[in-house]
Amino acid sequence: MRTHLVRNFSTSSALLGRTGVSIVPPVHHLIRFKKSQLSDKARPPKSWVTSAGFRPQITRHDRLRQHYNDTLASDLLLLNYTHNETTVEGARRKPRAPVTPYSVYQPSKPLPQHTQPTKDIKPRTSENIPHLERISINCFAKPAIENRDLAITAKVMLQHITGMKPRDVFAKTNLPMFHLRPGMPVGAKVEITGEAMSQFVSTLTELVLPRSRTFRNISGKCGDGNGNIGLKLTKHDITLFPELENSLELWPETFDIDLIVHTSAQTDREARTLLSGLGFPVSSEIRK
């Protein structure tokens, strides 16, 4: 009689009562498979527990989300609300008017010089309250040009402070005067969402930024026009993350990082208001 078996996530054959692979030499490939099973389509998505890349997404109560739902969302709706608002059309190429049989085949009217196309600004409702979408973190480790091992240090540093696995960044350009060649590892980058993002934001606003000597505030003028805010942390700020703070002697070097906080806000001002509500220090000087 077979007793309760502990499941191996690397192989589930044991559960079915068979060895799965041959353990008696000579070992041959005894697992039968169809070639179609190896294609990307046959692989289960990462959200399935049977997938090798599965990772639970919701594992604890999200404090930041709770604060957003309890207090911030209704406040932001009221703050941004304007009575009898209509859609404000963004700058974009428009067809020539009046429409004549001739103008139909003409190229659309170009935008004035030095203006970028922008999105429409829709009336604020309870459906489009600004919220945090994701944070992308980019670390360009300049010393990695001289010592390529430091690119790994940058990668591990990002992994420590975010809890997610970063990706390598390679140089694209050839700059002989900086000894930079295409393909050299020069840093790391990572995009965080969900729980990891909430954890990162609360660590940043509660433990790192209040103790930072270099970080002043988020400028009241910053933003890319689409509701995304960028900020920089210096290599000294990084050492204030509790993940690094307790083992500082292990880090020969830390690096500056660039953060971009992506929000669903329609304007930069709304995005700054959201960040202020989440606990980021935002300057009071105002620009739309």
Binding site: R7, R55, P56, Q66, T71, H83
Partner: protein, 237 residues
């Protein structure tokens, strides 16, 4: 003749701590976090504790090692899959020094005001949003604070602020969320009442003797106020 107006106040105290999730949700979180720990990478102790150091020795002494794999033994419940001193079939349990663990202590979420049922205290129900309700002795009716807007008022939120100071004194710090009113309440005398939303940040509400007041959460407000009145303000709470 200026049309008469009234301005009301939705003065709230936001939650001080994160509320505890429901028992079902707690069980869900526990299951998912245990699953996450099961699937987690092995803790790289070689990175944090350098070989041959005293800290490494102290750390290793505390850990309970896994059962080693032995070819001469038949493991009825599956063979150990040991890698970097961890059995990969199970979650890794890392034991730290006992003093380090004792540093985190859960504090009670029930405050002194809760045990005494002191509805005038701002330190009650710290997991929920509280709203200010007043009862003027002349009217004998619980409702949100509301004031007549004087003819020479500069704006609604100024009138609301002045009304609040005249009613509850100057010893509190409040923040007006927006100059836009949050709602308009209908009344029997056809005078519209515009609600201005505010948060109390600091201080206390100290009215005269002829005004009763209470800091209440949504469920408690339902019991205190009229049914028609609650229907109007329900969506705001």
């Amino acid at each position: 003749m200026v049309k008469p107006l009234r301005v009301g106040l939705l003065l709230s105290r936001t939650p001080i701590i994160t509320p505890k999730p429901a028992p079902f949700l707690q069980a869900y979180y526990k299951y998912m976090s245990e699953l996450e720990k099961r699937l987690m990478w092995t803790f790289p102790s070689f990175f944090f504790f350098k070989k041959g150091t005293l800290t490494q020795r102290k750390f290793n002494e505390l850990q309970k090692g896994p059962i080693a794999r032995n070819k001469n033994i038949i493991f009825a419940q599956g063979e150990p899959d040991v890698h970097f001193n961890r059995d990969r079939r199970f979650k890794q349990e890392i034991i730290l020094e006992p003093d380090e663990q004792e540093k985190v202590r859960e504090q009670p979420t029930v405050t002194e005001a809760d045990t005494k049922n002191d509805i005038k205290s701002l330190e009650r129900k710290i997991e929920q949003t509280l709203y200010l309700l007043v009862n003027l002795k002349s009217e004998n009716k619980w409702k949100l604070p509301s004031f007549e807007v004087p003819d020479n008022a500069r704006s609604l939120h100024y009138a609301a602020d002045n009304g609040l100071r005249s009613l509850g004194g100057d010893s509190m710090n409040t923040w007006t969320v927006s100059y836009t009113p949050a709602a308009v309440l209908k009344s029997k005398d056809n005078v519209p009442e515009f609600l201005i939303k505010k948060h109390i940040l600091q201080g206390v509400f100290q009215p005269d003797a002829n005004v009763e007041f209470a800091w209440l959460c949504k469920n408690e407000i339902k019991e205190k106020v009229d049914e028609d009145y609650f229907k109007q303000i329900e969506v705001l709470l």
